[in-house]
């Protein structure tokens, strides 16, 4: 299973990748902003995207919108400091499949990711 981890913070990308390892996902590509994420999507396929909201160049919600408008159905977990209810609703309406508010523990992230592992679909 391949994950795309999109966050402008190197620290968060590392924390997310480490948490992905807890559920057996060891193949992860990093992107530092939405534009880099779209570039990565154009060059390869992913099974899961973990997407920050506030990033330079292109933010997460615009990235999500662009992905869905382009027909990408890859599950997206928003991982963000945006905790207001209206933000969560906006993300879900735009096409996010899950939402995790920072701060989070590795176990909390792993629990969200488990919903998208192949075994969870069976």
């Amino acid at each position: 299973m391949k994950a795309l981890v999109v966050d402008d913070s190197l620290t968060i990308r590392r924390i997310v990748i480490k948490a992905l390892g807890l559920v057996g996902i060891t193949e992860a590509t990093e992107a530092g902003d939405g534009q880099a994420a779209l570039n990565a999507m154009a060059q390869g396929s992913f099974d899961l995207i973990l997407l920050d909201w506030n990033m330079p160049r292109m933010n997460g919600i615009d990235t999500l919108r662009a992905l869905r408008q382009a027909g990408h159905q890859t599950p997206v977990i928003m991982v963000t400091t945006e905790a207001e209810k209206s933000r969560v609703i906006e993300a879900i309406k735009t096409g996010a499949n899950e939402y995790l508010i920072k701060p989070f523990s590795p176990d909390q992230l792993a629990a969200k990711v488990k919903n998208f592992l192949p075994a969870a679909a069976k």
Partner: protein
Amino acid sequence: MSTVRSMPVSERERPPGSAPGGGGPSVDVSYINAFVEAVGHVFETMLGVHPKRNALKVGATAPDGLRLTSLIGITGKVHGCVALSFPPDTAFRLAGKMLGAELTSANAEVIDAISELVNIVAGSAKAKFNTDPPLQLGLPTVVEGTSYRVKYPSKSVWLQVPFSSDAGDFVMEVTYSRNGG
């Protein structure tokens, strides 16, 4: 629990010089609780560090010695700035905990880690203001230096909240005011 260790600020603790209606700059100290609680929640969840809040101070002072300060702006119906100021060793320890590495210099990893800390603290606090539309955060910035003061173009004052923790002491500085009144 974070709410015990990072005990909320009460009106009785209003620091001298911050009283409303006194003719000078004022600040509603109740707002500071959102930030104090955010520090407790963020540090415990992401770092396993238990910060203890110490007595509130008013005004931006320039602590002695080298400091690393990460700061971020907040805009919207409330606007202001939040800063976390660390002695280098504390910053290294906290960044090391986040990254699972031993860090001994103010390299890109440390800068990124303390940037993200202030970003998450501000994000966690801003949700408690519950404004519509939600407040917006800028991108974090880090300043490194000795004996500097952070200033913000506002009539409001800086509140300083010193914390002690098992990873070392640090200070949160916050200034904010409501737009339109």
